[in-house]
């Protein structure tokens, strides 16, 4: 067994045992932070499925918000179980993803222009949620109607451990999807499209089909993340689940960790959440906006000096160090 794999298994075992570790009074808080990391890492991983192929979306908040709001409103208004509501929400999100991706692909809206289009989509969803306040709760957001007791049908549980394990499984699922895409021919096709659409089309790659496919996959997973987050927090708000703010936070976490590696999104998300929590405790309410300022500065530094992110750069370094002695021997 390679040291990397052994380390990974040990980490997975530690995570699996997490809720039963003796953490004393910090336990609830620790679990809360971990659930957040799992869910946002999953969402970040979903984003990087597009981002790594130069489809930089600055509007994933739209998909997140659609997932979260559709499920919540279906439950609140009609008592539809989030299991079914979630499926409908993901379908709705997939349709929206096609509506965004098709014209962008058809008219070759790429690079910065694609980023701007998605930025607008994220804001449109946020503003629609605010404008339709009669049934969405507007900018005040809306709370999940309590089921009154632990309920699998309502996806509501008092015990954080349930959410911990659910989020853990979701995170693993996200990693699995990412790895599957990474090893497929579709990845080669998407890399080719990201680099040179004309050359990719000339070897028989159907550009529009691939772009729509990866966008739908990325958006659907993001919507799943939205459903999970809404069920956990049991409150949805247009500013935390749609629009520019959350969209950029997803991008930032992934860029920080590295979008070209399996664990990049997770490392980045863990770091940003840890940083956010730390700054919140240190500064409290004294310097509102301090966290965002530091995020922004870090983002600039990272994009310039470490384009493959913290995790990606570390991994490259380890690989280089490992292959150096091998070459010396040869």
């Amino acid at each position: 067994m390679t040291p990397g794999r052994a380390l990974g298994l040990a980490l997975a075992a530690l995570l699996a045992a997490g809720p039963f570790l003796p953490l004393g009074g910090m336990k609830e808080y620790g679990l809360h932070v971990m659930v957040q990391i799992f869910i946002w890492s999953f969402i970040g991983g979903a984003w990087s499925l597009m981002g790594r192929f130069r489809l930089v979306s600055l509007g994933h908040g739209a998909f997140l918000g659609l997932g979260a709001y559709a499920t919540t409103l279906l439950w609140n208004s009609w008592g539809l179980t989030p299991w079914l509501g979630g499926v409908l929400a993901v379908l709705l999100t997939a349709v929206v993803a096609v509506i965004v991706a098709y014209p962008c692909s058809r008219f070759q809206v790429v690079g910065h222009y694609f980023a701007l289009v998605t930025l607008a989509v994220g804001e449109v969803v946020r503003l629609l949620i605010i404008a339709e306040r009669n049934w969405t709760g507007g900018s005040l957001g809306v709370s999940l109607r309590p089921a009154g007791r632990d309920s699998l049908v309502a996806m509501q549980f008092a015990d954080k451990r349930v959410f911990y394990y659910a989020a853990f499984v979701l995170w693993l699922l996200g990693l699995w999807v990412w790895a599957r895409v990474d090893r497929s021919m579709a990845r080669s096709a998407m890399e080719a499209i990201g680099e040179d659409e004309t050359a990719a089309a000339s070897v028989g790659i159907h550009i529009t089909r691939f772009k729509i496919g990866i966008t739908v996959l990325s958006a659907s997973l993001t919507a799943v993340g939205g459903v999970a987050y809404a069920q956990y927090i049991s409150y949805v708000n247009p500013d935390t689940l749609a629009g520019i703010g959350v969209s950029l936070r997803i991008v930032f976490a992934v860029v920080l960790g590295g979008m070209y590696s399996l664990l990049g999104a997770t490392v980045g998300t863990a770091l940003t959440i840890a940083l956010g929590e730390y700054l919140r405790i240190v500064f409290g309410l004294r310097f509102i906006g301090m966290a965002e300022t530091i995020y922004g500065l870090l983002l600039i530094v990272f994009i310039i000096f470490l384009p493959s992110g913290i995790y990606g750069s570390l991994r490259d370094l380890v690989q280089r160090l490992r292959s150096a002695p091998a070459r010396a021997e040869a």
Partner: protein
């Protein structure tokens, strides 16, 4: 095999191709020549679907292909190379060719089969099939070979080769010429070949089509075409020297 008739392409007010017509016969190597800006590459772009044509018809094996998307045209059996090589730099050399073998055929090849074909094709053109080798290691000659390998991996019936010799030294050039001959001879692939280096082209091709200012000015055997006064005039009075 391929019949181009009345092919016209306008970019705004500029007419790059003005009613170009020619025919490609099965099994031949057809040279497509002309001075700079005469529309050779534009013709390739229209045939391969990279650019939509303004008017005219392009029939391939009895089927109208004008208006199809580039990937659909590739699936029907027309592959092309680019004048300036456009490798996928983030993929290895092997992956560059494997992706073409996987997606480019009339039916999609399984991944293992695509990799096998990619290795064969790389061997044919003389490039390393090592999965770690990156196109960044290749010089001008290697990149031209990669262009050819990627096009061939799609399993074409017709190859549009755009300046496969440009930027090559003498030895590489004769290697490339030999390669084109083998592609036609051993793989039975018909070739339309655009080239600037006239003397070499004229020795290899069966027939030539000469374009000037977006119009066909001559079509025929190399020797006849080289004597054609309109061709001589198009090349500023220089006679094409057949070494």
């Amino acid at each position: 095999m391929l019949t181009v008739s009345g092919l016209t392409k306008q970019f705004g007010g500029f007419t790059a191709l003005n009613g170009v017509s020619f025919e490609v016969r099965e099994g031949e190597i057809l040279g497509l020549i002309g001075p700079n800006g005469s529309g050779k590459t534009t013709a390739f772009n229209c045939i391969s679907g990279a650019l939509p044509r303004t008017a005219g018809s392009i029939r391939f094996r009895g089927e109208e292909i004008a208006g199809l998307t580039p990937d659909a045209i590739c699936h029907r059996g027309i592959a092309r190379t680019f004048q300036i090589p456009r490798p996928f730099r983030k993929l290895s050399i092997l992956e560059n060719v494997a992706v073409a073998a996987h997606f480019g055929g009339a039916q999609r090849n399984a991944e293992a089969e695509a990799r096998r074909r990619a290795r064969e094709t790389l061997e044919l053109v003389g490039l390393p099939a090592d999965p770690a080798a990156s196109p960044a290691l290749l010089g001008a000659g290697g990149l031209k070979k990669l262009e050819l390998a990627r096009a061939l991996a799609t399993g074409p019936k017709l190859l549009l080769a755009d300046e496969s010799l440009g930027g090559l030294d003498h030895a590489e050039m004769s290697g490339a010429v030999e390669l084109l001959r083998r592609i036609r001879g051993e793989l039975g692939i018909t070739i339309v070949w655009v080239e600037h280096i006239m003397a070499t082209l004229m020795r290899v091709v069966d027939r030539v089509v000469v374009l000037d200012h977006g119009e066909t000015i001559a079509e025929g055997r190399p020797l006849e075409v080289a004597e054609d006064p309109r061709v001589v005039e198009a090349y500023l009075g220089e006679k094409i020297v057949l070494a």
